[in-house]
């Protein structure tokens, strides 16, 4: 804990990252208190208003308040990113452990399956899977978890393969520890660093993917407040010079993803074994 605070004092980008994420999460949690309007109520008389005192970020073509929708969208986008990434860690880490520990047939099989999954064009596969399972938040989370798991399989496997040569693992074998015990007690905690760094980056990636899917109407259905579909609504207003409907949700995505990317830097420094 002390280390973390010391690091935060020293590294400005890590500080910025954590502050961004804290603010975003607070905004998401407190959305009903902060948002001045209901995120899905359309007010026909107030459509296409430029940013002003009543509507900080303006309104879209349906007359929905963009500021309120941007705040509420945190509950969709960030939740998809975080939960999706957690689930893919849950799939990828054990499979990576097994693939690294049993390098023979099982390891090879897992690796080939990961290859197969990564051979597809990722965005198109995501689109197809979401279309096949139905367009809702839960299914998008599952699809993201499934599609991102090969990365963790590879990272954990690579770490395990190098770790299991070490003498402390040999000592465990000599002491008669079971394979499961060695894998989960000894190898697991020491092989997580690359996966944890990647996880924070992937949360951002998952948010971008969700927004992209929704942008072409293949993700979270309207009128649920979601950044990507908001940009898609705003896209039609760009030509007439009404930039705000697309601008603010895009900025929200950018700041959030940046926050998670900077946090990845923090995790990398914090988990660096040579730091002390």
């Amino acid at each position: 804990m002390k280390d973390a605070i010391y690091l935060l004092k020293k590294e400005r980008s890590a500080r910025v990252g954590l502050i961004i994420i804290t603010i975003v999460i607070m905004l998401g949690l407190l959305a009903p208190i902060i948002a001045p309007y209901d995120p899905v109520t359309a007010d026909g008389r107030a459509s296409r208003l430029a940013p002003c005192a009543e509507h900080l970020f303006g309104t879209d073509s349906n007359g929905m308040d963009i500021f309120s929708r941007c705040i509420y969208a945190i509950r969709i986008d960030v939740v998809i990113g975080v939960v999706g990434t957690m689930l893919s860690l849950l799939i990828g880490i054990p499979l990576g452990l097994v693939a690294g520990y049993y390098e023979g047939f099982i390891g090879e099989l897992i690796l080939r399956l990961a290859d197969l999954l990564q051979a597809f064009p990722a965005f198109i596969l995501a689109m197809a899977l979401v279309a096949a399972t139905g367009q809702d938040v839960k299914n998008i989370i599952y699809v993201i978890a499934f599609l991102n798991s090969p990365i963790y399989i590879r990272y954990v496997r690579a770490e395990v393969i190098s770790l299991k040569q070490r003498s402390y693992i040999e000592a465990c074998h000599a002491a008669g520890m079971s394979d499961v015990n060695i894998m989960f007690r000894q190898l697991l905690p020491n092989s997580l660093r690359p996966a944890m760094i990647q996880a924070s980056i992937n949360i951002g990636g998952a948010i971008l993917l969700t927004a992209g899917l929704s942008f072409i109407g293949a993700g979270v259905p309207v009128p649920t407040p979601e950044w990507g579909s908001m940009i898609s609504t705003g896209a039609n207003m760009i030509i007439t010079g009404q930039w705000w409907a697309a601008f603010f949700p895009g900025i929200s995505i950018g700041i959030t993803v940046l926050g998670f990317a900077l946090t990845a830097d923090f995790i990398r420094l914090y988990l660096n074994p040579e730091r002390k």
Binding site: I124, A128, F215, I253, G254
Partner: protein, 336 residues
């Protein structure tokens, strides 16, 4: 001879992979909700009509038999017909593939220029103003959505400043497309000396390619920068420095050794963008593969989807083969 052996090995791994991909796609596509026969027949169709359409489309057969029929067709070079454009899928893809290839090639060109420029500036003067811009750019580029950046550039450069043409398609309506040779307008118009078409297609490709170039340039910058960082610390650069070689020369020598890293990044960006440029293609109504596959997915156009996946997989195979060959040429230490 070694190259032949290497090629053989790659293809031996690739064929079962391709087969598995075709099969999985085939099943996945048929798991999409909704019945394409119903979609085509429209909402007021009689059940008999839907049934006869299903029969015509071969959808009443078991999936494995459909797969067998498809594979037989494929071996005869027939990818089937798109139910919505009513063209042969091969024809459809042949029109759209060059459009996407042209777009992503230009994008990668921009990305390499942006990325390598910043990386060299960073190596040359790590505390200079450009290096600081580069650091900020590196942080921001990956964070913002490409389709959003595209829209914002359209707003600034088209709506406000009017320096680029409207973001619709690859050519203005009144400009005739150059004679079809490769299907890539920039190259075709150059080959036929059609300068009007060349200028116009360049104006149209500029913005979408710049958008993708800005988004993906950061990857090139980071890759080049970190490789340069390693090489600058190596013995032969220390040696060159102690000999008193000018800084420019040293940076030049360092850069030469980052070329393999850049080539690798070009490869991965190509294969990513073939499917990953979908959103930008939609923003700019580009009419490429990405848009084709999006509509195909919405319409449950089975053969079209299947065709896209085959083309994308083959493309990445050929791409990585070419990349490996280029790698051998630019980095003599590599031996397969």
């Amino acid at each position: 001879m070694r190259i032949l052996k290497y090629l053989g090995k790659r293809i031996a791994v690739f064929i079962p992979l391709l087969f598995a991909i075709i099969f999985i796609t085939f099943c996945l596509i048929r798991a999409l909700p909704g019945n394409p026969a119903e979609t085509i027949a429209g909402p007021n169709a009689y059940p008999e009509m839907i049934a006869s359409l299903e029969h015509q489309m071969g959808l009443d057969k078991p999936v494995l038999e459909q797969f067998k029929d498809y594979m037989v067709g494929l071996f005869h070079g027939n990818m089937g017909y798109s139910w919505f454009t009513s063209n042969n899928v091969t024809t459809d893809l042949a029109i759209r593939f060059p459009a996407t290839l042209e777009l992503i090639t230009m994008s990668i060109l921009f990305a390499v220029i942006i990325g390598v420029f910043f990386a060299i500036c960073k190596a040359y003067k790590p505390t200079g103003i450009i290096s600081r811009v580069a650091t900020v750019y590196g942080m921001l580029a990956g964070a913002f959505a490409d389709f959003w950046l595209g829209l914002m550039l359209v707003f600034i450069l088209f709506v406000k400043l009017k320096v680029v043409p409207s973001p619709i398609g690859r050519l203005d309506l009144f400009v005739t497309a150059p004679q079809h040779i490769t299907g890539m307008y920039l190259i075709d118009s150059l080959l036929t000396g059609n300068m009007v078409a060349f200028a116009d297609s360049f104006k149209h490709i500029f913005l979408p390619a710049l958008t993708l170039g800005l988004v993906h340039g950061a990857a090139f910058m980071k890759m080049t920068s970190s490789t340069m960082g390693e090489i600058i610390e190596s013995d032969y650069i220390h040696h060159a420095r102690s000999l008193g070689l000018p800084k420019k020369k040293i940076i030049g020598h360092t850069f030469r050794n980052t070329v393999p890293a850049v080539v690798m990044t070009v490869g991965s960006t190509y294969s990513f963008l073939l499917g990953g440029a979908v959103l930008i293609e939609n923003v700019f109504a580009w009419g490429g593969l990405g848009q084709y596959v999006t509509t195909a997915l919405a319409n449950k156009d089975y053969a079209a989807l299947q065709g896209f996946i085959i083309v994308a997989t083959l493309f990445s195979l050929v791409l990585y083969l070419i990349i490996d060959l280029i790698m051998m040429a630019v980095d003599p230490r590599i031996d397969y």
